[in-house]
């Protein structure tokens, strides 16, 4: 039995792309990650077939891989834009530019979410947009539920802070 990659792309592609956009804040980079995610699905399908017993499992697996690839991407982005001693090279300028190209005609709330640090906007997105429970988010992020809950609380607080500020 094989996983129908094209069908998976059409069913869950939007969710993967949205999560990647929220993480990278850049459409082109998110599309690269999208390709990597489904390529990984193709390459790992034999290993994961026995673990994926229902459609929800497949979606969770895809979200997990997206999170991991975005994390790697963020690390390499930091590395690419800093010198050997961690001194920043115009990262701040690039980041502020990235905030506005990710989602077209974004509302103040979306701007505020994208303005949150990486760890928090990920949790906020998975909770409010994808409507995952904190337990499911913890599984996707590979951390314990308490940490996820505290990150969600802190993320909410920060979001309120940013929205009020605007």
């Amino acid at each position: 039995m094989e996983i129908d990659i094209e069908k998976s792309m059409r069913t869950y592609g939007d969710s993967v792309l949205r999560l990647a956009i929220v993480n990278t804040k850049n459409r082109a980079e998110a599309e690269d990650i999208f390709q990597e995610v489904f390529l990984k699905l193709f390459l790992s399908q034999n290993e994961i077939l026995n673990r994926i017993t229902c459609e929800e499992h497949l979606k969770n697996w895809l979200m997990q891989v997206t999170v991991r690839l975005c994390r790697d991407h963020t690390k390499s982005y930091w590395n690419k834009n800093t010198d050997g001693f961690g001194e920043k090279i115009d990262v701040a300028d690039e980041r502020s530019g990235r905030d506005y190209e990710a989602v077209e005609n974004q509302s103040d709330v979306t701007k505020a979410v994208l303005n949150l640090p990486y760890k928090y906007r990920q949790v906020i997105h998975l909770f409010y947009y994808e409507e995952y429970t904190t337990k499911e988010i913890a599984e996707i992020l590979g951390e314990d539920e308490t940490a996820t809950r505290s990150r969600l609380t802190r993320g909410r607080r920060m979001l309120e802070f940013f929205v009020k500020e605007d």
Binding site: I5, E6, M9, R10, G13, D14, V16, L17, R18, I21, V22, E31, F34, Q35, F38, L39, F42, L43, F85, G86, E87, K88, V91, A92, R95, V103, E104, N105, Q106, S107, D108, V109, T110, V113, P117, Y118, K119, Y120, Y128, Y129, A147, S150, R151, R154, R157, M158, F161, V163
Partner: protein, 223 residues
Amino acid sequence: MMDEYKNDLDNIHVSEELINKTLLRIEEEKKKAGSEEVKETEKPVKKMDSRKIIKFTTFAMASAAAVLIFVNTNMMDTSHLTITEVDQVEVRSGDIPGLFTENNENSVLTEAEFTARIGINGRELIKSAGFEKCSIEEDKGTFYFGNDDMEVSLSLSDSEDLTPESMKEIEKNQIDGHEVTLAKDDNNFYATGEENGVSYFLTAKCSGSKAFLKLLKEYLKNF
């Protein structure tokens, strides 16, 4: 409030072009995998040998590196704590007092905003050395303290793991119920860990491990 966010995100869709591009990459991968399978059946013995060599070399290199780099020394009368001596802990700008500690003009947040965001006042975490200044850059805040006997810097971030690469593999210590990684190089002592979702990296130039651990315990108590 989140409805606006949902509406914005609902407008994001995968294009047909992206799906086709991805399918094309998968096809290429299929072809590549097919040709590699052929090669593997042609030279099975050689492949096995090189795998073994790589495995053995990796293991040998890892063991050698472990022996060369890490020299564990129990340095305290509280002998259960281990401060691992490393060749050099790689630090970022501002992580050590005196090293690029100018105020950062690119700060996105003020100290008050940073404090509100992470919910912790960095100034209040260390009392035995006087607070000198604070520098906020991107998602990290660094607080500097000092007295006649020591110079201390404390970096905090709620979005970034501040643990230096060279400290990531070191075994953690349990100090008053907190998991902390400890290291030293020359006269510098380092502590790193995570508390309530906030990553920290503490550095201290001080007379010895006793003074450092006293400082660390004070810091952990105030967190």
